[in-house]
C-alpha cells in the first residue's frame, strides 16, 4: 500500500497514527468495538472454563459489556489523541480503504470471521470460518445462500441497510448440536455509509452445556432436599391430627423426623462444604501436616459406626513420619468420607484397612516433580462395577440409590473428596473389583524435605517405601 511505504521512514508510531487517521471516525469506532467485544469474549471463555457452571454465564454477559465499554472508551480516547495530531496526519496520509484493512484484521482473529461486501457476497473468511462455516468454494457467493440461517440473513440485511450492529444467537442441530453467537458489524466508508460488513461467530456450545449442567445440579439438589422435607411435613400433620393422643406413635414419628432432619442437615453441610472448597480450589494449601495423626483422628471418630456394622478398622502405619502439604480439616474430611464409604459398602463384619506411606503405593505409577505421601483406604465388600467408576465422583451419582439413602449418604461424599484432593494438587485413584472390594488411594504432595531419609538415616526413594 502506498500509505505504509511513504510512512515507513517515520517509524512505527506514526505509521499507526496514519493508519488510524485514514479510517474515518465511525469506522475506527467499529474496529475498537469489535476488538472490545472479542477481548471480552476471550476473557469470558477463559473464566468460564475455570469457574463452575452457573456464575460463568452471568460473568460472560458482564464481561462482554465491559469489553464493549472498554472498546468504546478506547475509541474515544484514540479519537481525542488523534484530534490533536489530525491536521498534520490527515494532510500527509491519503484515505485508506477500510475494507482492505478489515481483510488483514480478520485474519488475526481466533473466532470465525467472514467479511462481506456491499451486496452481501463473501469477500474473505479467516481460517476458523473456512474450517467450520464457509469453504473456499463459496467465496464470492451471497452469504444467504451458504450460511442459511434466516435470523442472521435478516441481521445482515439490517446492518447493511441501517448500519446497526446486531447480535444474534443461533443453534445448529446437525450434524451435532452447536450454539453460536453471531455478531454482525457494518463497516462504513468515509461518508458514513455502510459499505461492507463483518460477521463474527463465537462458539457458545461449551457455555450452553455448562448452563445445562448447572440446571441439572439445582434440580438434583432440590429433589434431594424435598424428599426428607415432605416426610417431615407429613409427620407434623399426623402429630397434629390423629396421633395427637398416642404417645407411642408420637415417639416413633419423632424418631423418624429426627432422622429425616439429620439427613437434610447432612446434605446442606455437604453442599456448603463443597462450595467452600470450590471457592478456594485455586489456592493450594501450604501447611505441613502429619498424616498419621489425621488417620488416628478419623479412626477415633469412625469407631461408633464401625461398632454398629461390626467392622474392624486396621491401620498400617509407616515407621517414620509421613507428612503432606495440606489443610488438616480438609484432609480429615477426605479420609473420613473414604472410611465411611468403606464401612458402609464393605461387607458387614469385614475389615477396613488404612495405609499411609511416602511416595506412592505399589501398582500405582505416579509421575511427580516432588516428593509425595499417600493414604490408601481399602475394603473387602461388594466392590464397584467397572462402568460406574468414571462417574463415581459426580455429584449425586449413586450406584444403589436405596442403599445410599438408607445408610445416610448424601451422594456428595466422593465429589467432596475429589475437590479437596484437586485443591491439594493431589490425585485420587480408584481401583475396584466386583465382590472383591474397593481401594481408594489419595496421593498428596509432601514437604520438600520428606523422603530424603527415614529415622535411621537411610535414604528412601520417592516411588515406593516397602511395607
Amino acid at each position: 500500500m502506498e500509505t505504509s511505504e511513504k510512512k515507513a521512514e517515520h517509524g512505527s508510531g506514526s505509521k499507526t497514527r496514519s493508519f488510524l487517521a485514514g479510517l474515518n471516525a465511525q469506522h475506527r469506532r467499529d474496529l475498537f468495538v469489535l476488538t472490545g467485544i472479542s477481548a471480552g469474549l476471550v476473557l469470558a471463555t477463559g473464566l468460564s472454563g475455570a469457574m463452575e457452571a452457573g456464575l460463568s454465564i452471568l460473568f460472560a454477559g458482564v464481561i462482554i459489556f465491559a469489553g464493549l465499554g472498554v472498546g468504546r472508551l478506547a475509541a474515544i480516547r484514540t479519537e481525542q489523541a488523534l484530534e490533536e495530531s489530525e491536521p498534520e496526519a490527515e494532510a500527509a496520509a491519503p484515505m485508506v480503504d477500510p475494507v482492505e484493512n478489515a481483510r488483514t484484521i480478520i485474519d488475526a482473529f481466533p473466532d470465525a470471521v467472514v467479511l462481506l461486501d456491499r451486496d452481501k457476497r463473501i469477500l474473505d473468511a479467516n481460517a476458523a470460518a473456512r474450517d467450520e462455516f464457509v469453504s473456499d468454494a463459496v467465496t464470492g457467493k451471497v452469504i444467504g445462500t451458504v450460511f442459511r440461517r434466516p435470523p442472521i440473513v435478516e441481521a445482515i440485511d439490517d446492518a447493511m441497510a441501517h448500519g446497526n450492529l446486531r447480535e444474534v444467537e443461533f443453534t445448529d442441530h446437525v450434524p451435532v448440536e452447536r450454539s453460536h453467537m453471531a455478531i454482525v458489524c457494518p463497516i462504513h466508508d468515509h461518508q458514513e455509509n455502510p459499505i461492507a460488513c463483518v460477521l463474527m461467530l463465537r462458539d457458545l456450545t461449551a457455555i450452553k452445556r455448562s448452563e445445562r449442567m448447572r440446571a441439572d445440579f439445582v434440580a438434583n439438589a432440590s429433589h434431594e432436599l424435598r424428599t426428607p422435607l415432605s416426610s417431615l411435613a407429613g409427620f407434623i400433620e399426623t402429630l397434629k391430627g390423629h396421633a395427637r393422643d398416642d404417645p407411642e406413635a408420637q415417639d416413633r414419628f419423632l424418631q423418624i423426623m429426627h432422622e429425616q432432619a439429620g439427613r437434610m442437615r447432612r446434605l446442606i453441610d455437604d453442599l456448603l462444604s463443597l462450595s467452600r472448597i470450590e471457592l478456594n480450589e485455586h489456592v493450594a494449601p501450604s501447611d505441613t501436616i502429619d498424616l498419621a495423626s489425621v488417620v488416628s483422628d478419623v479412626v477415633d471418630a469412625a469407631a461408633p459406626l464401625a461398632e454398629t456394622t461390626g467392622a474392624k478398622i486396621e491401620v498400617e502405619t509407616f515407621d517414620g513420619s509421613v507428612h503432606a502439604v495440606g489443610d488438616r480439616d480438609e484432609l480429615i474430611q477426605v479420609v473420613q468420607n473414604l472410611v465411611d464409604n468403606a464401612l458402609k459398602y464393605g461387607a458387614t463384619g469385614g475389615c477396613v484397612e488404612i495405609e499411609i506411606g511416602r511416595g506412592s503405593p505399589a501398582g500405582i505409577h505416579h509421575q511427580t516433580e516432588g516428593p509425595t505421601s499417600f493414604v490408601v483406604v481399602r475394603d473387602h465388600g461388594v466392590g464397584i462395577a467397572r462402568e460406574h467408576i468414571p462417574r463415581l465422583t459426580e455429584r449425586f451419582y449413586r450406584i444403589d440409590v436405596k442403599h445410599s439413602r438408607e445408610s445416610g449418604g448424601t451422594g456428595l461424599g466422593l465429589a467432596i473428596v475429589k475437590h479437596i484432593v484437586s485443591r491439594h494438587r493431589g490425585r485420587l485413584h480408584i481401583k475396584s473389583e466386583e465382590n472383591e472390594g474397593s481401594c481408594f488411594t489419595v496421593i498428596l504432595p509432601a514437604p520438600a524435605d520428606q523422603g530424603l531419609e527415614d529415622e535411621t538415616g537411610k535414604v528412601i526413594p520417592f516411588e515406593r517405601v516397602a511395607n
Binding site: S135, A137, V138, K141, V142, G144, T145, V146, R148, R149, P150, V153, H173, V174, P175
Partner: protein
C-alpha cells in the same frame, strides 16, 4: 459460472439461486423448529412454525415468477437452462417440505395436549436425520457438488429404515395399550411426514445432479420404505 456477455443476465441467474437458497434456509429453520416443538412439547414454538409457513409459500411464487421471466426474456440454453429448470423443480420440493414441517407442528400441538409418549425421542432422531439430508442437499446445490447430491440420494435409505422400525414399534405399542391409539396415530403420521421430507430431499438431489452433470442418476433408486407391506401379528405383539 462462465461470464455472460450481458451482465444483467448472469446477475438474474444468481439472484434466482439466492432466492431459492433463502427459501431453503427458511425450510431448514422451519423443520428444526417443528422437531424442537415436538421433542420439547413447546406449544408457542409450534404455533410460530405454523404461522411462518406462509413465508415459504411467498418465496415459491417469487422464485417461479423470476424463473418464468428468465425463460421468456433470456431464453437460456445448456447449463443455464438446466439451472432455471432446476430452480423451478427444487422450489416446489422445498415448498412441500415447508408444508410437511407445518403439519408436524400442528400435530405437535395436538400431542402436547395428551400424556407424553416415550417414542417422540425416536421421532426427533428421525427428524434430525431428515434435517441433515436437507442441509446437505442444499449445500450440494449451492456448491454445484454432484457427489454430495449422490450421497444424499443414497442415504435416504437409512431414513426409510428408521421409519420402518418406528412403524412396527408404534403398531406394537398401540396393541399393548389401546389408550395410546390417539397419540400413536399422530406419531405415525409424523413419522410418515418425516419420511416424505427425506423423499423430497432425494428429489432435490436428483435435480441437483442433473443440473450439474446434465445426466440423470443412473442407479436404481434405493427404496427402503416397506411399511406398505408391513403387518404386525396381533398375538405376537401382545405376547412380547
Amino acid at each position: 459460472m462462465t461470464e455472460h456477455t450481458v451482465k444483467a443476465y448472469g446477475h438474474e441467474l444468481e439472484e434466482l439461486s439466492t432466492k431459492l437458497m433463502q427459501m431453503g434456509g427458511l425450510a431448514e429453520a422451519q423443520l428444526a423448529a417443528a422437531i424442537e416443538a415436538l421433542s420439547k412439547r413447546d406449544n408457542a414454538l409450534a404455533e410460530r412454525t405454523v404461522a411462518a409457513d406462509a413465508q415459504i409459500d411467498d418465496f415459491e411464487h417469487e422464485v417461479e415468477d423470476q424463473a418464468v421471466r428468465l425463460l421468456a426474456l433470456r431464453q437460456p440454453l445448456g447449463s443455464d437452462l438446466r439451472e432455471v429448470l432446476a430452480a423451478i423443480k427444487i422450489c416446489s420440493d422445498i415448498e412441500r417440505i415447508g408444508d410437511l414441517a407445518k403439519n408436524l407442528s400442528k400435530r405437535a400441538l395436538v400431542l402436547n395436549r395428551e400424556r407424553p409418549v416415550p417414542l417422540t425421542q425416536g421421532l426427533s432422531r428421525m427428524g434430525l436425520f431428515g434435517l441433515r439430508l436437507l442441509k446437505d442437499v442444499l449445500d450440494a446445490y449451492i456448491r454445484k457438488d454432484a457427489a454430495l447430491a449422490l450421497a444424499v440420494w443414497r442415504s435416504d435409505e437409512e431414513l426409510d429404515e428408521l421409519y420402518n422400525s418406528l412403524f412396527r414399534e408404534l403398531l406394537t405399542y398401540m396393541m399393548e395399550d389401546p389408550r395410546t391409539i390417539g397419540s400413536c396415530t399422530h406419531l405415525l403420521f409424523i413419522a410418515k411426514n418425516l419420511e416424505r421430507i427425506g423423499d423430497h430431499a432425494t428429489n432435490i438431489a436428483e435435480t441437483v445432479h442433473f443440473m450439474v452433470d446434465g445426466t440423470y442418476i443412473s442407479d436404481q433408486r434405493p427404496k427402503g420404505d416397506v411399511t406398505s407391506e408391513t403387518k404386525v401379528d396381533y398375538t405376537l405383539a401382545t405376547n412380547q
